[in-house]
């Protein structure tokens, strides 16, 4: 069976090279660097370093720069489209941080001012601008985010879960990334010279690119996306594997996914950041895989490194390469580096180009490669049947009550489990060398992952890791910005910067467990864990491989009450999460997991769609022994209305448990609810104390538990007996 072809119907781009596809193509032909000293924000000390800054951005009051960049690219990509896309997937690492940095400096206490801080708001805002009411997802895998977002869209389209998806990446310049990379001594004061013998680092940049992808062949497709490959170095939080092990695996996976061999590739758009280690590792990987590589170049000497946007921007460059037969030059390169043994294009070249490999690698060892081709130039490789359900083999929870056992024991008494986690005692179970640099979120994540894996008792280590977090590593982010401010911007902490990225915790899990497969961190506010499950279901299709899915969030003062609309400054804070060790094999599984529904809330009609999707595989009446309802405090009224309507319309009589009354308010509370559901199915008993009745025994009755997410999204996870 061959799958559907995925066409690029539209592309939008804004970068330091200019705004729009035409301006970008023209700039690439001119081969000039747009890198220049930063003037976007005032520096308290030091001369401005060279950056890739966007000049022509139409900004909007109260809207962070990231959102404005993504808007510009999205509107261009959608310009010729009549219908809205069915899903939006955005890769971003900065979200509204540039705005937040200033608000924190001004000691702003009004949480409304921070409403666009969260990464999730970028995809939600774009979905609103283009009229998409389906899933709006955010991938945050550092510098590979844009490529990973496009890779996920490709999978969603191939499976027929959507016909059109708008996918790409965006990041804006901000103090966090500007000073962060400076603190790592990864910035070249003389601009950026990828692959050059004298290269000294990158230029931090900004920009956005979005692709409108579709399985319905447009009249004039720009290009086709034929393959995506994801991998993780599982080596170091910030440095690449010296031989480019993960880079090579991702390139190989992308080629295999496309059904192409290295000799089919006409051009490689390198990640090529200009840092000594990255370029060396990438050159080694390219040489090892290709032997005699096709023409290669990195455009980052012209654009700088726009982080989460880079993979998407370079997917657009690959699109230009196959649609215009234009291979861009490696701007800024002058001296061959014998250690690299890889010579880039020094001038733009016009030559027939059928297939391009585009590389993106990032912090946490997160790698994403894409294969972009001229439409229908190659035959498609056969693809397997759709995968069976995710099968849960082990799980773990961490809450204010403590570990899984302590959490479940308290729940059995009908007692709340909310509160903060004793992170010091959690860390005692972990190797001290591993955790010494880690703060709350990565420690909790590692503890969850270790316990879930042990509980599963599977021989093979997890291959892939999927993480959902609403807010990421708040401690590291806050400490970095505070240290920056308190030292008059002189002494930012490199350790805190490396730890501040959303995908840091999942990268740590990969390092501990040697998980070299896909490593994806999703951020979707109160629905982040559901997004991680969605990502796992899309990407982890290999029946033989085990994966970890984790949802976790830390409580932080002062940030949690400022950022999270459901967290009140007067109520006690709550944090924690849950983790699952999964594969696709039912044998020996504790229970099965499905995610039949994930949509933005728009109208009451969404409840009808939800009921339809739940009933797809059989009658709904009597299906669920319990409904765990997630209603964030900030959406209480709306969530209650949705729930009442759902119960009325479905006729379901199952007992309903509002789990946040027990877990407390935090973004990934649904991961704890998922653990509750799994444990109730395993024990065959829902404690009567919880459901306000006698013990429910699903054993002789319903064999499923439904975990509903309500509020600004409607989501459904089903836990079923194997």
């Amino acid at each position: 069976m061959t799958g559907r072809r995925v066409y690029i119907a539209g592309a939008g781009i804004i970068s330091p090279l200019g705004s729009g596809l035409a301006a970008t193509t023209e700039a690439l032909r001119r081969n000039r660097s747009a890198i220049r000293p930063l003037d976007l924000f005032k520096l308290l000390s030091g001369e401005p370093l060279p950056v890739g800054q966007v000049d022509e951005l139409e900004e909007r009051a109260h809207l962070p720069r990231t959102h404005c960049l993504a808007r510009t690219a999205s509107l261009e990509a959608m310009a010729d489209s009549v219908l809205p896309p069915e899903a939006v997937i955005v890769g971003t690492t900065t979200g509204g941080i540039l705005t937040t940095e200033q608000l924190l400096r001004d000691q702003e206490q009004d949480k409304n001012a921070y409403r666009y801080h969260g990464l999730a708001t970028v995809a939600e805002y774009i979905a609103g601008e283009v009229g998409c009411s389906g899933p709006a997802l955010v991938v945050s895998t550092a510098c590979s985010s844009g490529a990973v977002a496009i890779g996920m869209a490709l999978e969603m389209l191939r499976r027929g879960e959507a016909v059109t998806v708008l996918a790409g990446g965006v990041d804006s310049l901000c103090r966090l990334t500007y000073y962060g990379f400076h603190s790592l001594q990864l910035v070249d004061r003389e601009g950026c010279r990828p692959l050059d013998r004298d290269r000294h680092g990158m230029a931090v940049a900004e920009g956005s690119a979005m692709l409108l992808l579709t399985t319905e062949k447009p009249a004039l497709p720009l290009a086709e996306i034929m393959g995506a490959g994801l991998s993780c170095d599982a080596y170091h939080p910030a440095a690449p594997h010296p031989e480019g092990r993960g880079a090579r695996m991702a390139m190989e996976a992308a080629l295999a996914d496309a059904g192409l061999s290295p000799s089919d590739i006409d051009y490689i758009s390198l990640h090529g950041t200009g840092t000594p280690e990255n370029d060396l590792a990438e050159a080694r990987a390219v040489n090892a895989l290709f032997g005699t590589p096709p023409p290669v170049s990195s455009i980052k000497g012209a654009t700088g490194h726009s982080l989460a946007a880079a993979g998407a921007i370079e997917a657009v460059v690959a699109t230009i390469a196959v649609s215009e037969d234009l291979l861009p030059a490696n701007t800024g390169w002058q001296h061959p580096d014998p250690a690299l043994d890889l010579l880039p294009l020094t001038e733009p070249v016009n030559q027939p180009t059928m297939a391009v490999l585009s590389n993106s690698f990032g912090f946490g060892g997160n790698n994403g490669c894409l294969v972009v081709t001229r439409p229908e130039s190659f035959s498609q490789p056969p693809r397997g049947q759709s995968s069976p359900c995710l099968a849960i083999h082990g799980f773990s929870a961490l809450t204010g009550a403590g570990s899984t056992a302590a959490t479940l024991a308290l729940l059995a008494q009908g007692s709340p489990i909310g509160g903060t986690v004793d992170v010091d005692s959690v860390a005692k179970q972990l190797p001290p060398r591993l955790v010494r640099r880690l703060k709350r979120l990565p420690r909790m994540t590692l503890a969850l992952a270790v316990e879930a894996r042990e509980a599963a008792g599977l021989a093979e280590a997890p291959d892939a890791v999927f993480m959902g977090t609403g807010w990421g590593a708040l401690s590291e982010t806050y400490d970095f910005l505070t240290g920056l401010n308190n030292s008059n911007e002189q002494f930012p902490s490199p350790i805190d910067f490396v730890g501040s990225v959303h995908n840091g915790p999942a990268g740590q899990v990969a390092m501990l467990m040697g998980s070299t497969g896909a490593n994806i961190t999703m951020s979707g506010g109160d629905y982040s864990f559901e997004q991680a499950v969605l990502a796992a279901d899309l990407v982890a299709t290999d029946a033989e491989k085990n994966v970890l899915v984790v949802g976790a969030d830390e409580a932080h003062l002062p940030l949690s009450p400022l950022f999270d609309l459901s967290v009140s400054p007067d109520a006690p804070l709550a944090e924690g999460g849950g983790a699952f060790c999964l594969n696709r094999r039912k044998e020996g599984a504790a229970c099965l997991l499905r995610l039949p529904f994930y949509r933005q809330w728009t109208t009451a009609n969404d409840i009808e769609l939800l009921i339809e999707s739940l009933g797809e595989r059989g009658p709904l009446a009597g299906k669920y022994g319990l409904i765990l309802a997630g209603i964030p405090a900030a959406a209480k009224e709306q969530g209650e209305e949705q729930l009442a309507f759902f119960l009325r319309l479905s006729g379901l009589k199952s007992p309903v448990l509002r789990y946040r009354e027990f877990t407390g308010e935090f973004a990934s509370a649904s991961a704890v609810a998922a653990v509750m559901a799994a444990s109730f199915l395993v024990s065959g008993k829902v404690p009567g104390n919880l459901a306000g009745a006698e013990d429910i025994l699903p054993e002789d009755g319903p064999a499923a538990i439904l975990v509903l997410g309500l509020g600004s999204y409607i989501t459904a996870m089903e836990f079923l007996r194997p």
């Binding site: 910030a238 010494r436 640099r437 030292s487 002189q490 002494f491 930012p492 902490s493 350790i495």
Partner: protein, 88 residues
């Protein structure tokens, strides 16, 4: 000099959170980076920030860094040689 060494041990244990190391058993001549403590390039950069902040001594090249951070003793000596009078 020995006072500087003892001071550096405490500071490094603190900023790198070396919980299982106590200053008395921290050998100033032992290999610091890539040695048994698992200190890597990110730790070196954190120490670079500390050295600049506390002693006004700038280390901004990898070559110098590799030499200076080979041990606590060599770091102490480098600070001694390069610190401005008011701060040493």
């Amino acid at each position: 000099m020995s006072k500087r060494i003892e001071e550096l041990k405490v500071k490094i244990i603190d900023i790198l959170n070396l919980q299982d190391v106590d200053p008395e058993h921290f050998d100033e001549n032992e290999r610091l980076v890539g040695g048994p403590l698992g200190i890597d390039s990110i730790d070196v950069l954190e120490m670079v920030v500390m050295v600049e902040k506390e002693y006004g001594v700038v280390i901004n090249s990898q070559e110098v860094g590799e030499r200076v951070f080979s041990s606590i003793a060599s770091l102490a000596q480098y600070i001694e040689e390069n610190a401005s009078g008011s701060k040493s």
